[in-house]
Symmetry: D2
């Protein structure tokens, strides 16, 4: 049975002086030949199911044949996790500033070209080491040497990112509002998507928008491009560039289900087995039809009107053009207007998630859907 | 086909001057021999399903054989209904003051005894007329003649209550957070509980705590008691005292389902048919096992700890003493404490509703349950 | 120089398991002949100035000639104190339930009569001891032996109240929204009001509405009345009934001013000197005109309309009937209605506090004022 | 006396169907030779003082000698303006999404180069006309022809922007949290800063970050640069490129003061007089020392710790390096740590605004200050 260590990382302070802490669990292996892994959950306050998945992973990993180090961080964002507005947890943004907690990670594109120039002829191994060190130093600089300070969210994000940069594989466990399971996967890591037990995958490119997955794979992708410009070719996902990051969307927010979490954990073990992080052949992906689309085709539909929504589009099932996705109730129009308004689209889509409440303003995001989807 | 009228009632103003309005639908009959009815929905902002039920009632009532007047008011509380905190609707209380929107109705016990004295020998019909007039005047006084003003919530509540006092039967459509259907029913109206298609009924007594149902039946109950003290006996629920008020809890908040709303509407028609408000024998209650308990036995269980809850207790099914109602995840204790804590009770209960979020503080209401329940 | 002890009291847990703690500072004296004192601050989250006053009291008390024990509790409510909604601290109520944090203390009137009966002939000293013990036991019962649990706010309030019941004098430091300083004082302790450096006092009677001051003096007042009914007369504020509780409103919320806090602390020392808790004659009340009114005459004015308010009434200065208290801007009416609406009252008043924001709904509390005020 | 027209613009719908409307006041002149002006207020919900300034401008402009058309829009954002969280107005962002209301205006840089190419040889007048038409069409496209819809904030912003693009001069009236008056001014319009009665000016360049001022002047600046690249030189602020946009920060949020608003209005008239929009020589700027800095030198200081802040830095007065800007109270450290922490900077600054609450988390923005400031 594998042992793990547990530490408590301090990530901030509240007005009363209360310390904000995050537990960090680490499995260390001796042979450590395989990729190392970083898994975190609950960066968005209401997206709690990942904590239950980490619970199940901790239970299961103790009995696995570990080949690489694994770090697990539940309750990644204690401000968000404990922040109630009414009965619900204010999920997605800093209640003071409105900033999305998952848009505050760091990546400074301007360090890439000079690095590639400096290490143009270095060995692949040296490149990997030095570049990882650079990424970590970049974070340290911001955390420790900034006379003007950093925001609450940056302090949390940077401390998590410092851990994540030390790993080769990063899994950031999220959920949608009311949602099917889906996976954000870098295009170059397409092959890995089939090892998760998740039916819907969104392929993303090298655009940094502040999220954890991007913050950990985009630097390497950019570096590989910089070397390419200098005439030296590496392959993303291989050798020194064996870096993969995923945002794993586990279903709906505001819910804990330990039995479902067990299933989610098994899917993650299947992926870790495929990467050699564990050597346990019993963890294999389930057979299922997997759909995917590109990020540009993962589209949000905003409500054409205020009203109360009866969500009709079933998650994960292709919906034909013209079929109703939702009907919106407008009792104020009853008797002298249209009390029911049907919403449909002009193309086939797969509904992936919808808004968490029936009550919407004009312009509230109703659904997110796959367009131009294809089977994996 | 029956016609209805539609009016827009002004219930307040926001900071920008925006008027808060509520639509009021009225079916008037000529013979008007039967009790009159008042139905409202959405006093709590997130409890929207009642609006869909009113939609279905408006559809169905146009084809009924009406014997009494019916007033229907969806979107009863536009402040609450439109107030978002994050994705969810801030449901239960005024965002400025914290006051529960359904605890602001008016009843002044001190008017009862003098009235009974004054009309000690009046006919039952005169008593009904004069007392109804008194109740309406009481409200008018507060709405119109108060130099110090009234609160935002009182203004809304009093205008609704003024309409409700004009009816004999009052249905206030609510929902729980995540909840089975249940009914709050005055003890004296016990017989009516079997006409709704609702499996769980809570019998309440003559205690006024500010809610709409209490505000409309408690005055009559108190009046009947006052006459009793003076030696004149009336029966609650008969003759001049034919007044019934119910809080109908339609299920979970934050959801609109028009198909379920149709079923809910049919259950209400079954009750209206039983009271002679409509003459449509096709509307009969469904056969089901109906459980009930007294209000004192409808108990809340507060969380013994902070944590993330996997709610296990199924709604509406008797749960044996000692069986787990919930398990609470505490990842911070993993490895050096109890990461899972099971919650159970020492008596048999029926779980009726639970908190809307998995994330709870120590002391958050986890569940509400029936104790000492019995079959109707 | 006097030493104090410092302990950390655990008052709850958040969803992540984070412990909620409160620091408790205690000065203990040996001779302990004088009344003992309990002072807390910041039960309402945004009312922070009391923490600065406790800072200054800790600085000053180390150099006083102490005659009685003094307990000081800043940051009394860590949930509220750390809870942001936008830039501001959500002050007054539990963000989940809407319950006012200062309405959750405990007092069960039904224990009074049996106690008086049981100890009808006991010595005054024994009565004081046993009754204090009863009050503490009542709290312990609720905290420790309740199978259904207690709410988050009750857990915090009861733990504070358990400390407060051990003292003879209780000072609960609050602030208004935007406010002058004022004092809630039990009628029987009228003489004490002149020792605080506060110009405005509200005299309250023996009505328990859930607040800390009431929870600590009302039991004793009720007990004295119960003895009176049984033919034994004690005087409130003397001997065994030497109990005084005050809610001290320090000015406006959301502000820390350490210099003003020093002045506030000196005023409290003046009161403690008057009660013999310290023996430092240099602490004397300032000369000032002190106004007072009874609680029934401390009235709230609710806004007659939605709009944006230019608050005109100066705090603490008598305002003649008919003089404008506020003018309300309604730009939506400019050009075709009244863009400015003046608010005045039909009697002389002293404005004490006003709402914290210019933007009000119809029915928002605009001002609180003294009516029928008099000089102390 | 000049007449104005008043219209009500519909900008959205809430869940109950309630329409969100904004009043639009327009003064039209016949000679219309001077620049036209657009002034709006209250895009951020708590920043209400601009409404009072528009009130005073409407009062004053009726008696001015108008040379150009002027459009005035108070209550620009009714969602934000009416949204309460506790006593305060949730100011800066959409409560559902967290998006800053003043970062949702539109500018698509990619339309610039093709336009310049197409109208390379057009007359300056034609360029101005066609380009203005292009900007308006761009907005119309997004508002009217988007099958996927737009967000709530975009709908509001675009409708305001459509009005603003029709003017040559745009004033967007904001406030800081607790703040001195200050002005955001495009670098090329430096000369205009001296006509406002505002002591502090921030000069901004051609970077579009979603705000109203940028959305209206950046397109023209970019166009001028595009022509420059093609060899045709125009001067920003002259001829067809006579476009000026300012964000006017009027002081602190959550306050209405009609007397101060009168002064603010006079300062705006002084600027309008300088631009020939009115011909009333009595409106001249006040004499004052005006300080300015560049946007890159307008810096935020984030709190190095959680705590409660006594803000010491006076607005508008140069503060020497090392002098305390704030002291942070940490009562939890009293007795065994540092209960007071002083914050200072290593360079001279002018404090411009500070956070709205004493209670801050580690990382909350404490102050914004001018560095490297200079006199205008």
């Amino acid at each position: 049975m594998n042992n793990f260590t547990k530490e408590v990382m301090s990530v901030g302070e509240m007005a009363s002086g209360a310390k904000l802490t995050v537990p960090v669990y680490v499995f260390e292996t001796e042979n450590n030949s395989a990729p190392s892994v970083y898994i975190q959950a609950n960066m968005h306050g209401a997206e709690v199911q990942g904590n239950a998945v980490i619970f199940q992973l901790l239970e299961l990993l103790q009995h696995c044949n570990l080949q690489g180090n694994i770090t697990l961080v539940p309750y990644a964002n204690p401000v968000a996790c404990n922040h109630k507005n009414g009965e619900y947890t204010l999920g997605r943004f800093d209640p003071i500033t409105g900033e999305n907690w998952n848009r505050m990670y760091h990546f400074d594109q301007s360090v890439i070209a000079p690095f590639a120039q400096q290490y143009l002829d270095a060995s692949e191994e040296e490149i990997a080491d030095k570049f990882q060190q650079l990424l970590i130093t970049e974070i340290d600089q911001r955390l420790e040497h900034n006379i003007w300070g950093i925001t609450t969210g940056q302090r949390i994000a940077y401390q998590l990112q410092r851990l994540a940069h030390q790993a080769d594989i990063v899994l950031d466990l999220h959920t949608g509002p009311i949602s099917s399971k889906h996976l954000y996967c870098p295009e170059y890591a397409k092959a890995s998507a089939e090892y998760f037990d998740i039916e819907h995958t969104i392929f993303i490119q090298n655009g940094f928008d502040g999220a954890m997955d991007e913050a950990t794979f985009c630097p390497w992708w950019s570096l590989q491009e910089a070397y390419q410009d200098l005439g030296r070719n590496f392959t993303m996902g291989k050798g020194a560039f064996k870096k993969e990051s995923f945002t794993v969307e586990l279903g709906s927010q505001e819910q804990i289900d330990l039995d479902v979490a067990k299933q989610d954990a098994l899917g993650i073990l299947s992926y870790l087995q495929s990467q050699g992080v564990i050597d346990n052949k019993q963890y294999q992906p389930q057979e299922m039809t997997r759909y995917a689309c590109y990020l540009k085709d993962y589209k949000a539909l905003y409500s054409p009107m205020g009203g109360m929504v009866d969500y009709l589009g079933e998650f994960g099932k292709p919906l034909a053009a013209g079929e109703p996705l939702a009907r919106i109730l407008r009792m104020d129009n009853y008797g002298d207007g249209e009390a029911l308004h049907y919403v449909s689209l002009e193309q086939d889509v797969i509904p992936i998630l919808h808004f968490a409440s029936a009550s919407v303003n004009q312009g509230t995001e109703l659904y997110k859907v796959f367009c131009n989807y294809f089977e994996l």
